[in-house]
């Protein structure tokens, strides 16, 4: 396959920056010509996927557009109509498909997302708050200079710190960020367990077309993409979801139920996710966390469920098992290779230590961002069929314990065995530990495509 041109792909797509601070600025375009001028200026500072030979930059800038944003930029109608249907509709219109009902429904979202004003997402990632502020100032002065947009909102995010060092923990205390897929042609330190499972038990990278438009995907064809090709190639789609975390509810629920659970609080928490809070996979270390596994890149995502069909080590409905079933559905994992996606999330809000009291009303949670070539086949499918539903995992209507839209109902089964510290256990009357506060679908164009948009040169054919 052809080598990827890192200078044509936005850096956010090709690598997880692992910069501890971020600010997402949301823009609204009022005039197409001025907006295009702004994009032309922004192009000069957009971070590409080119390798960093001189170490990480102080800050990065990337940009993506909603469908109505592309319409506001006056792309030709034929092009706008050639985008996949789900992207045209936007995430708000897909709420019932995604299970975003009840407390997660759009009426309960933040004002920014309840309206239809977001046209663009400009992401600033940085090594320090000062870097973020400097970048924001540059952005705002460009906006003022070109009068190209109106800022309709922004969202700060930051990694949770531990003794001054950035961690990948989220607010419930779990270490996150494992298992982003490997793709052909994307340079990265690969770890066994990230790619797709081969019949001989090794892991191979996924087809490039599962992430990037314009390349062959796992089904042996080019993914559905907007026309012209040059607009789509090297671009991708992103889903952005602001997930509020009810830390107080989670802690109370865990405490209450661990009283009855023979394995104790930490183990019960681990059973919800499928990893101990430090990230040790339950499949590899069912009795206790094991830092030596977590720190070993050859082991921390390298496992399958074939030897645990009953779910006694990692429950059948645990989060990591739901979203990446590996070999659990049989057929050498072939049914899941087209359901993977790259996650780039970051926590937001003030972290609160385990022994500090927390309030559900305080703003904190995770900004969930996932990149995939096909929103409907990848993100929407996993959200609808594997998170808010359980049939493929043989769990009926049961939802994902942590992410599911439970509304006080539902249950989570921890499969166990006859040992006293690993009993079967059912958690019922599940509250919403996580609430959706807004978000949308975005298109992350290539550098070339951004240039065409900026110059108003997009032609359908």
């Amino acid at each position: 396959m052809s080598k990827l041109n890192g200078t044509d792909i936005q850096g956010f797509v090709l690598r997880g920056y692992n910069l501890p601070f971020a600010r997402y600025v949301f823009l609204h375009f009022e005039d197409a010509a001025r907006a295009r001028a702004l994009i032309g200026r922004l192009l000069e500072i957009i971070t590409t996927g080119q390798r960093w030979d001189h170490g990480k930059p102080q800050r990065t800038v990337n940009i993506a557009f909603t469908h109505r944003g592309l319409a506001a930029l006056e792309l030709p109608l034929a092009t706008l109509l050639s985008f996949p249907v789900e992207f045209q509709q936007g995430m708000k219109s897909r709420a019932t498909i995604l299970g975003d009902t009840g407390i997660n429904s759009p009426e309960c979202w933040d004002e920014l997302w309840r309206e239809n004003r977001v046209h663009a997402w400009v992401a600033i990632n940085g090594q320090s708050i000062a870097a973020i502020e400097a970048s924001t100032a540059s952005l705002r002065s460009l906006i003022e200079e070109t009068a190209g947009a109106v800022e309709v909102g922004w969202q700060d995010a930051a990694a949770i710190m531990d003794a001054g060092k950035a961690t990948t923990r989220e607010h419930f205390g779990f270490t996150d960020g494992f298992g982003n897929p490997d793709y052909l042609g994307v340079e990265r330190s690969t770890q066994p367990g990230q790619g797709k499972l081969m019949p001989d038990g090794t892991w191979a990278p996924l087809a490039t077309g599962e992430l990037l438009l314009g390349y062959a995907d796992e089904a042996g064809e080019l993914p559905v993409a907007p026309i012209p090709h040059i607009l789509a190639t090297n671009g991708t789609f992103m889903v952005y979801r602001k997930l509020h975390q009810n830390v107080a509810t989670f802690r109370a629920y865990l405490k209450e139920h661990s009283g009855q659970y023979g394995g104790g609080e930490e183990k019960l928490a681990a059973k919800f996710i499928g990893r101990w809070r430090d990230g040790t996979p339950l499949e590899l270390s069912p009795e206790k966390p094991d830092p030596s596994i977590v720190q070993d890149p050859h082991r921390n995502v390298n496992f399958t469920y074939g030897s645990d069909p009953e779910g006694t080590r990692c429950p059948i409905g645990a989060h990591v098992r739901r979203v990446h079933p590996r070999d659990a559905f049989g057929f050498n994992g072939r049914l899941i290779n087209r359901r993977r996606m790259t996650r780039r999330g970051l926590t937001y809000g003030r972290p609160v230590a385990q022994n500090e009291p927390a309030s559900d009303r305080e703003e904190r949670g995770v900004i969930f961002m996932a990149l995939n070539a096909s929103l409907s086949r990848q993100f929407e499918f996993v959200q609808q069929q594997w998170i808010e539903y359980g049939n493929d995992a043989h769990q009926g209507n049961d939802k994902d314990m942590l992410m599911g839209n439970h509304g006080g109902q539902g249950k989570f089964v921890v499969q166990g065995d006859t040992t006293a510290t690993n009993p079967p256990f059912i958690c019922s009357h599940l509250p919403n530990f996580v609430e959706l506060r807004g978000g949308d679908y975005f298109f992350l164009p290539s550098i070339t495509a951004l240039g065409m948009i900026a110059m108003g040169l997009v032609d359908p054919r």
Partner: protein, 210 residues
Amino acid sequence: MPNQNGSVFGLTILSPIIDDEKATPSHDLQIRKYLATLPTGPESPFAQAPGTHLARLVVMDDVVFVGYPAIEEHLQSKYLVFETNCDADLDEYLSGLAKAVPDHLDAIWSHCVGYPGVANSGAFIEYMKACQLETTLFFAAVNDKSVPVTLRALQTQRAVTDFIADHQGMEPARLQKEFLEFVGKLESEPVPKPGTMGPQRALKTGGRNE
């Protein structure tokens, strides 16, 4: 014997629909209209007659022209497709239908050529047999449990889940006592009717009935 898989039978019946230019609306449209308002839940004729796991009725207008270089051709009649997966062989199943829901059968099949009516069950069964197609391959996932057994199992599954969840950590003597009470109560519950969604739960999956 391809019409059977385990103890489940498969039936495929294609009945030619009357072609009468003077009928307004045409007979196929009349069938369609009737089927559009026929209940699909526990009030369905297939819930009231015994032994139907799954059944479908389709008005097949024509064969499909897949495009050049295939030859375009057309059927002279429209056909009513009746495809069902059921617990009993043809004779027993159709007699069951004829006895339980004769009016529905007449309302639908009276639009088909040569339909003798359900009153004479022998003639009715002969008529349906004449239109039966031989299945070439029949696949069934769960193939040896009847409809009532399956409905009871679904009811049991739900009840058992609730029992387990409500009795965690209970001391053995009390657990045993309550278990036996639970079993007694479950056994005396009536088997749920076919076609029901089960007891209403507030569990939201974003399904179309919400």
